[in-house]
């Protein structure tokens, strides 16, 4: 404790004055007694000691009031431990729900946070953040332990990927300052160098897992043929795994394939479907020693794959000619070379980089300024649907755009020219929209089979974009009229979304499964899948934590001053009231004179 104005302590000099006044009153006070005769022998001898200060409760009240006044004038400051702000990042990504036996990592995480909540200081403010999706469990930081525990109980494991750094960024933004302490509860490995103010609670353990990491319906684009489902599965375990993949529709198994996967191996499994297969097909994966259930099921809607029309838009007659040649060979495709876009969603094929129409998907040919066919070796990523029919390595003669500008999107096909590797096909999948960029001129490459395969693979992938949604990505609701839409989530929970005029989507796709949308008589179902190899890999967990610079000074004082003057003023007031009450009571008692002696002051 310290004093803002220590000079106020001079008021303590009034204490001796008070004592002197009471001593004076003690010596001057007169008591009328019946007789001095009993005390005669005392009166005759001199008093053994001097008269002392005679005090009563009034004196102590007055002394307390004086001391309190002196303290109040000195403006004391009491230092209390500053309440800490704690940011709790609770990892609720899909991997936290993994288990072979016993409790899940998420259960252990909730238990760890709960035990720390019970031990927290009453004044400390906690903000609970989840990673999947990144959102606070309570609207604002709270020091109420019960409210925090209730908020913690609402946390659930989602079927999304999680990012701890993003959660930390958003948590700091919600707090408005750097937290005094950050508590991360996750199954991700602890980073090598971390901030000392970050407490890390690791609740995960390496577990074997086999999961679906992709699914595609490779139906015929050009001619009627048996449709196939391509399911990409991967073994994330350290041991070989026997896997069975089944395609099921209405509890009827349409196809079933068993494969043997080596540790870490990823493989595309082809499932042949009947000709009449339409609608939603569920793909199930079965394997022994599989810790994560979220990546064992996937859905694809076969009924919508041919609904997207293709629009070719270009100023180049050669480009239009080649496109009409290629697309014309496929009678099953509905395409047009129109300047005006159709009313519904469509796939746009163009040679203009800036043509970002309202298409659901875009295939852009980046045409070189000087079209010169060159021989190159193409390297295709076979784990992507675009490379499904491509050889891993083949020689292609095509007019490529070999520029130094950075390719936008993820490369799927590279071209090796003169020892340099250039991305030829790149893909983007963001916001529910897919985009493929092919860096070549089709007019000078129309005879190359790999080029046509890339083209049709791209169309297939683009046209079925809406059929293979993943968790976390929005479900486009363009076909609904503006207004409220009732949503039935995969876990049976009801939700509601408001569709505005224009481009609207349902964004809370935290679980894999069917999402049923209903607006009046219109009903639609969207199938959302969980494909996230990072989350499925329970053996080698990757860290999403990145050290972030502190925005404010970290040398905040551990103790904060609290002025006591106001409290002391209240105390003085109470003392004065007590003194007044006591004085009144004493006066009333004296007026009754119940005792054997009377008192009078001189």
């Amino acid at each position: 404790m310290t004093f803002a104005t220590p000079a106020g302590l001079l008021w303590l000099l009034s204490v001796p004055v008070l004592v002197w006044l009471w001593r004076l009153a003690s010596t001057q006070r007169q008591f009328h007694i019946p007789s001095l005769i009993p005390f005669e022998h005392l009166v005759k001898r001199p008093p053994r000691r001097r008269s002392r200060v005679v005090v009563n409760r009034l004196f102590w009240l007055q002394l307390a009031a004086l001391l309190a006044a002196a303290l109040a004038l000195a403006q004391p400051l009491w230092f209390q431990r500053r309440a800490k702000t704690v940011l709790v990042i609770l990892d609720n990504s899909a991997s936290m729900g993994a288990r072979l036996r016993g409790s899940t990592a998420f259960d252990r995480a909730v238990g760890a946070v709960g035990s720390r909540l019970r031990r927290k200081a009453p004044a400390d403010r906690w903000l609970l953040m989840t990673t999947s999706p990144v959102e606070p469990l309570a609207r604002e930081p709270s020091s109420d332990g019960d409210a925090l525990r209730r908020a913690l109980e609402t946390a659930r494991v989602s079927q999304l990927g999680g990012n701890l750094s993003t959660a930390q960024w958003i948590g700091r933004a919600l707090l408005g300052a750097d937290p005094d302490q950050t508590l991360v509860v996750t199954d991700e490995p602890r980073p090598a160098a971390s901030d000392p103010r970050v407490s890390w609670v690791a609740v995960g353990e390496p577990l074997p897992n086999v999961g679906l990491v992709g699914i595609d319906a490779l139906g015929p684009l050009c001619a009627p043929a048996p449709a196939r489902l391509i399911a990409t599965v991967q073994n994330f375990s350290a041991d070989p795994a026997s896997v069975r993949v089944q395609a099921i529709q209405a509890r009827r198994t349409l196809a079933s394939v068993a494969v043997e996967l080596q540790p870490g191996q990823r493989q595309a499994v082809s499932l042949a479907l009947p000709d009449q297969a339409q609608g939603a097909v569920e793909v199930q994966l079965q394997a022994k020693r599989d810790a994560l259930a979220a990546d064992n099921r996937a859905w694809v809607d076969l009924g919508r794959r041919a609904t997207l029309p293709v629009v070719v838009r270009s100023q180049s007659p050669a480009f239009l000619r080649v496109m009409s040649k290629w697309l014309g060979a496929c009678q099953a495709l509905a395409w047009s070379a129109e300047a005006q876009a159709p009313s519904g969603p469509f796939v746009l094929v163009t040679d203009r980089e800036d043509d970002r129409a309202t298409a659901a998907a875009t295939l852009t040919f980046a045409v070189p300024s000087k079209p010169v066919p060159v021989r190159s070796q193409w390297v295709a990523a076979t784990d992507h649907p675009l490379g499904a029919y491509l050889e891993p390595l083949q020689v292609v003669s095509a007019s490529l755009q070999l520029s130094g500008e950075a390719a936008s999107g993820a490369p799927v096909v590279w071209a090796i020219v003169n020892g340099s590797r250039w991305p030829v096909v790149t893909v983007q999948d963001a916001g529910g929209r897919r985009r493929v960029v092919i860096r070549l001129d089709p007019a000078f490459s129309d005879e190359a089979t790999p080029v046509m395969l890339v083209f049709f693979n791209s169309l297939r992938w683009l046209a079925r974009a809406s059929g293979t949604l993943t968790t976390g990505s929005p479900v486009p609701l363009a076909s609904f009229a503006p207004g409220a839409i009732a949503v039935r989530r995969p876990d049976g929970a009801a939700d509601r979304v408001e569709v505005q005029a224009g481009d609207s989507a349902y964004e809370r796709t935290t679980l894999a499964g069917p999402y049923r949308f209903e607006q009046g008589q219109r009903r639609e179902t969207a199938w959302v899948n969980f494909f996230d190899p990072l989350e499925s890999d329970l053996t080698h967990r990757a860290s999403t934590w990145q050290p972030q610079p502190t925005a404010v000074s970290t040398t905040a004082p551990a103790r904060a001053p609290h002025p006591l003057a106001r409290t002391l003023l209240w105390l003085i007031l109470l003392l004065v009231l007590a003194e007044w009450w006591l004085y009144t009571k004493k006066g009333a008692a004296s007026s009754g004179l119940p005792g054997g002696m009377s008192q009078a002051s001189r």
């Binding site: 008591f31 007694i33 019946p34 009993p38 008269s51 002392r52 005679v54 004179l593 054997g596 002696m597």
Partner: protein
């Protein structure tokens, strides 16, 4: 005459069940009362046999005894007298401090004991020890005089100082006190020598003396209140700076009271101390019989 609140019918009935304790009867009592004494008298209550002497009433000779013993004896009978009960109440200024409560209690005790005497067939008289003219009530003879006796207690006015021994001498002469009982109601705030002298004045007049000291609790433990300052004697006006310990003050009062009590005990004078916070009823019905005042 309205009845005082403290004289309830229940209390009066309790008083009527008691009687004054009389240890001896000296000369000077009026004959014709109801209190029998072992003295040859004319009552019907047989007392004893006595040898016949010439001049005795021959009607008192017991001829049956003469026939058996061949000696003359006369039968004697107890004499029934009326005892004089003097109730002397201290009315000096000390009895009125801090309020007349102490004096009121003294008067109540005097009236109560006086009524007990009346119910025994004695006569009672109240007198107040105060400076100036002698203040005393007439003799009361009947039970019905209770309320008249109580009304007399409102007449005296407290105040002043008087020398107890001198007052007692003058009063005994003026009121012709001789024989009977005298009950002194005082707070004992008097020099012990004065007190001894006053009691002795009564004793030599063949009066059976009894003393009741009436004190407040604060007087018995003055240290609780007298914690410094100046004390003023309400009777003399003397002042003294008080600077003594609590033990000294309490011990001084205790020793003074014990001195009075010891003197009374030596002289065979019943002595009782009545605290003002004590019930009047309990004091009369329990304490006073135990101390030899009542039976």
């Amino acid at each position: 005459m309205p009845a005082p609140s403290w004289l309830t019918p229940e209390f009066i009935r309790r008083l009527e069940a008691l009687q004054l304790s009389i240890r001896w009867v000296r000369a000077g009592q009026a004959i014709g009362g109801r209190f029998p004494i072992n003295r040859r008298g004319s009552s019907v209550e047989f007392a004893d046999y006595a040898a016949y002497c010439p001049g005795d009433d021959i009607r008192a000779i017991d001829w049956n005894l003469y026939a058996r013993l061949d000696r003359l004896f006369i039968k004697t009978y107890k004499e029934e007298i009326t005892l004089a009960v003097e109730l002397i109440v201290d009315a000096t200024a000390s009895m009125g401090l801090p309020s007349p409560q102490k004096f009121e209690r003294a008067n109540q005790l005097a009236v109560s004991l006086g009524y007990i005497g009346l119910t025994d067939g004695h006569r009672a008289r109240l007198s107040w020890m105060a400076p100036g003219r002698l203040l005393a009530s007439p003799w009361f003879h009947q039970r019905g005089d209770l309320f008249r006796m109580e009304a007399f207690t409102h007449r005296p006015v407290l105040g002043g100082q008087t020398a107890l021994a001198e007052w007692m001498r003058r009063t005994a002469l003026a009121l012709r006190m001789h024989g009977g009982q005298a009950i002194l109601f005082t707070d004992g705030m008097v020099r012990p020598a004065e007190f001894f002298h006053a009691v002795h004045t009564l004793l030599v007049r063949n009066i059976e003396v009894k003393v009741i000291q009436i004190l407040t609790p604060q007087e018995l433990a003055p240290a609780k209140l007298l914690r410094g300052g100046v004390v003023v004697d309400v009777e003399t006006g003397l002042q003294h700076q008080l600077a003594y310990s609590a033990d000294e003050l309490n011990r001084a009062v205790l020793e003074h009271n014990e001195l009075l009590a010891r003197f009374c005990k030596r002289q065979g004078v019943p002595f009782a101390q009545h605290r003002l916070d004590e019930s009047l009823d309990a004091f009369i019905t329990k304490t006073l019989p135990a101390r030899g005042f009542l039976e």
